[in-house]
C-alpha cells in the first residue's frame, strides 16, 4: 500500500518539478520560439481539434504494426531455428552480425530507392530495425536453454516438432519476449525517424512539418510528448506479457 503510493507520488512529484523548471526556464530566457508546457498543451488541443493528432498517431502506429509484426513473424522462427540447428547458425550468423550494427537510418536512402516515398519504405525500415533484436534473442534463448530440460524431454521420447513445441519453445519464450520488448522500443524510435523523410503523415512528419511550416515549436514539442507517451504505453503493454505464469519463471525474482 505504502509502496504503491510511493510509486505514484514520486513520479508525479518529479513531473511537476520538471514542468515548473521548464516553464521558469522559458520565461527567464525570454524566448518566444521555444514553448512553455502550457503552450504545448494548447498545441496538442489544436491538433486534436483539427483531427490531425489522432490521424498522425494512427498513421505511425499503423506503420509500426506492419513492420514490427513482420519482424516478429520472421524473427522468432528464424532465431529459434538458428539457435537449434548448428549448420544454420554457422551459415547465417556472421551475415546477421554484419547487418545488425547498420543503423536503420543508414538504410533510408536505400529504402526510398526501393520503395519510393510510400508507406512501404518506413515499414521496411521498422522491419529491419526490429527483426535483428528479435532474431538474436530467440537464437540466444535456445542456445542458453538449460540442458536438463532437453534431456528430460528426450527421456520422455520427444523429438522433432513435439520436442520443439512442448519444450524448446516454452523454454525459450521468456527471453524471446524480452527481445520482442526491446525490438518494439527500437521500432518506435525508427518510425519517427523514417517519417521525417519518407512520408507525409505520422508523428515524425508532424515534427518536421511544424518546424518547416512556420517554426511552430509548440507543435514540435507536442509531437515529441506524444511519441514519448505512446512509447511508454507500448512498453507497458509488452511488459504485461512477462506477467504470464508460463514465462514468469524466466525473469528472476521481482
Amino acid at each position: 500500500m505504502n509502496r504503491r503510493l510511493l510509486h505514484i507520488i514520486l513520479p508525479l512529484a518529479t513531473a511537476v518539478l520538471f514542468l515548473v523548471g521548464w516553464h521558469t526556464a522559458v520565461k527567464m530566457s525570454g524566448s518566444d520560439i521555444f514553448p512553455t508546457p502550457y503552450e504545448v498543451l494548447r498545441g496538442l488541443g489544436e491538433l486534436a481539434r483539427q483531427g490531425l493528432l489522432l490521424k498522425y498517431i494512427v498513421a505511425s502506429l499503423f506503420r509500426v504494426s506492419w513492420g514490427f509484426g513482420l519482424a516478429v513473424i520472421v524473427g522468432v522462427p528464424l532465431g529459434l531455428v538458428l539457435g537449434w540447428f548448428r549448420p544454420a547458425y554457422a551459415a547465417l550468423n556472421p551475415f546477421i552480425q554484419i547487418l545488425r550494427p547498420i543503423s536503420p537510418i543508414a538504410w533510408i536512402p536505400v529504402a526510398i530507392l526501393w520503395f519510393g516515398v510510400k508507406d512501404t519504405a518506413p515499414v521496411f525500415l521498422i522491419f529491419l530495425a526490429s527483426v535483428f533484436p528479435i532474431t538474436v534473442s530467440a537464437m540466444a534463448a535456445v542456445q542458453n536453454m538449460q540442458q536438463v530440460y532437453l534431456r528430460a524431454a528426450q527421456n520422455f521420447g520427444l523429438s522433432g516438432f513435439p520436442l520443439f513445441r512442448r519444450v524448446i519453445f516454452p523454454a525459450a519464450l521468456p527471453q524471446v519476449i524480452t527481445g520482442i520488448r526491446i525490438a518494439l522500443g527500437v521500432a518506435w524510435l525508427v518510425v519517427v525517424a523514417a517519417e521525417m523523410i519518407a512520408v507525409n503523415s505520422g508523428l515524425g512528419y508532424l515534427i518536421i512539418d511544424a518546424r518547416n511550416a512556420g517554426k511552430r515549436y509548440d507543435l514540435v514539442v507536442a509531437g515529441m510528448v506524444m511519441i514519448g507517451l505512446i512509447g511508454l504505453v507500448l512498453d507497458l503493454l509488452v511488459r504485461r506479457l512477462e506477467k504470464f505464469d508460463e514465462v514468469r519463471w524466466g525473469y528472476g525474482q521481482r
Binding site: 538449460q146 536438463v148 530440460y149 534431456r151 528430460a152 528426450q154 527421456n155 520422455f156 521420447g157 519444450v167 516454452p170 523454454a171 519464450l173 505464469d245 508460463e246 514465462v247 514468469r248 519463471w249 524466466g250
Partner: protein, 261 residues
C-alpha cells in the same frame, strides 16, 4: 528365464570416460575400467565421494553421454540415447518451470487416455505429498517440493527402469525418510529395476539390494556390498550396521566420523 544373461537389465563392461580438459589436448579421466551388472528387478545403489564420476556413469547408462571406451547394454541392446521406458531423475532439477505441478507429472503420459492420466497424476501427487499444489508452478515451490515433483513425474511415467541421481538430496530429513520408504514400496509393488546414485552411505544401505562403492577420480568400482537385511529394514540391526561400517571402511573412513579420507 534360465539363461543368467537374460536377466541382466544393465550391463557395463570395461567402461572408460574422459572429458576434454581446459588446455587443448589435455583430458580429464573420470571413469576407468568400470564394470557392473544390474539384474532385472534389482535395486542397486552407487556410492562414492562427490566429484568421482557417479553422475557421469549414470548419464552414460541413461544414454545422455557416450562412453569413451567400453560397452553399455541395457535391456539387451547397446545404449543409443535415452528411452521412455527408462526414466532419469536428474540431480539438477529437471522439472519444467512453464508447466504446473500436475502438467509436469502428467508429462510422460500424454499418449494415455485422459481418465487414466488424471488418475495416475492424482495418485502420484498424493504419494509425494503435494496434494493442494496441483495448479502451482515450480517457482512457487521449495527446492524439496520441486524434487518431489520430478520424482512423481518419473514414477507416473511407469518406466521399467529408473535412474536416480541423488534424488533426495534437496529434501529435509523426514521427507527423505518417507520418500525412501515410498520408493521401496513402489519398487516392490511394480518390480522396477532401479539404479540409484547417492553420496549418502546410510541411504544406500537403507535402499539397496547391492551397493557399489566407487573410488576417487579416476573412478572405478572398488567393491560391491550385498545388503541382506530383510525389509522393512531395522536400522539398528547388527547386519545393517555391519554393512554400513563396511562401506565406510572401503571409503577410508570409520563410521563415527573422521578418519583418513
Amino acid at each position: 528365464m534360465d539363461n543368467a544373461d537374460m536377466e541382466k537389465t544393465i550391463t557395463v563392461r570395461d567402461c572408460w570416460m574422459s572429458f576434454p580438459g581446459k588446455q587443448s589436448g589435455s583430458e580429464i579421466h573420470v571413469l576407468e575400467r568400470v564394470s557392473l551388472d544390474v539384474a532385472k528387478g534389482e535395486f542397486v545403489c552407487i556410492v562414492g565421494p562427490s566429484g568421482c564420476g557417479k553422475s557421469t556413469l549414470l548419464n552414460i547408462v541413461g544414454g545422455f553421454l557416450k562412453e569413451t571406451r567400453g560397452e553399455v547394454l541395457v535391456e539387451g541392446a547397446p545404449v543409443d540415447g535415452p528411452d521412455p521406458g527408462r526414466i532419469f531423475v536428474f540431480q539438477e532439477n529437471g522439472v519444467f518451470p512453464w508447466l504446473t505441478v500436475e502438467q509436469n507429472i502428467g508429462f510422460g503420459l500424454l499418449s494415455r487416455p485422459v481418465a487414466e492420466r488424471e488418475e495416475r497424476v492424482k495418485h502420484y501427487i498424493a504419494m509425494v505429498g503435494l496434494a493442494g499444489f496441483e495448479k502451482s508452478y515450480p517457482r512457487e515451490l521449495s527446492g524439496g517440493m520441486r524434487q518431489r515433483v520430478e520424482i512423481a513425474r518419473a514414477l507416473a511415467a511407469d518406466a521399467r527402469v529408473l535412474y536416480m541421481d541423488e534424488p533426495f538430496g534437496a529434501l529435509d530429513f523426514l521427507t527423505r525418510l518417507k520418500m525412501r520408504a515410498d520408493l521401496i514400496r513402489i519398487w516392490q509393488a511394480e518390480k522396477k529395476t532401479i539404479l540409484f546414485v547417492t553420496h549418502d552411505i546410510e541411504e544406500a544401505v537403507q535402499l539397496a539390494d547391492r551397493v557399489l562403492v566407487m573410488t576417487k577420480r579416476p573412478a572405478t568400482i572398488a567393491e560391491e556390498v550385498r545388503i541382506t537385511v530383510p525389509r522393512p529394514r531395522d536400522l539398528d540391526s547388527p547386519d545393517y550396521l555391519a554393512a554400513r561400517d563396511r562401506i565406510f571402511a572401503i571409503m577410508g573412513m570409520d563410521a563415527h566420523g573422521g578418519g583418513a579420507v
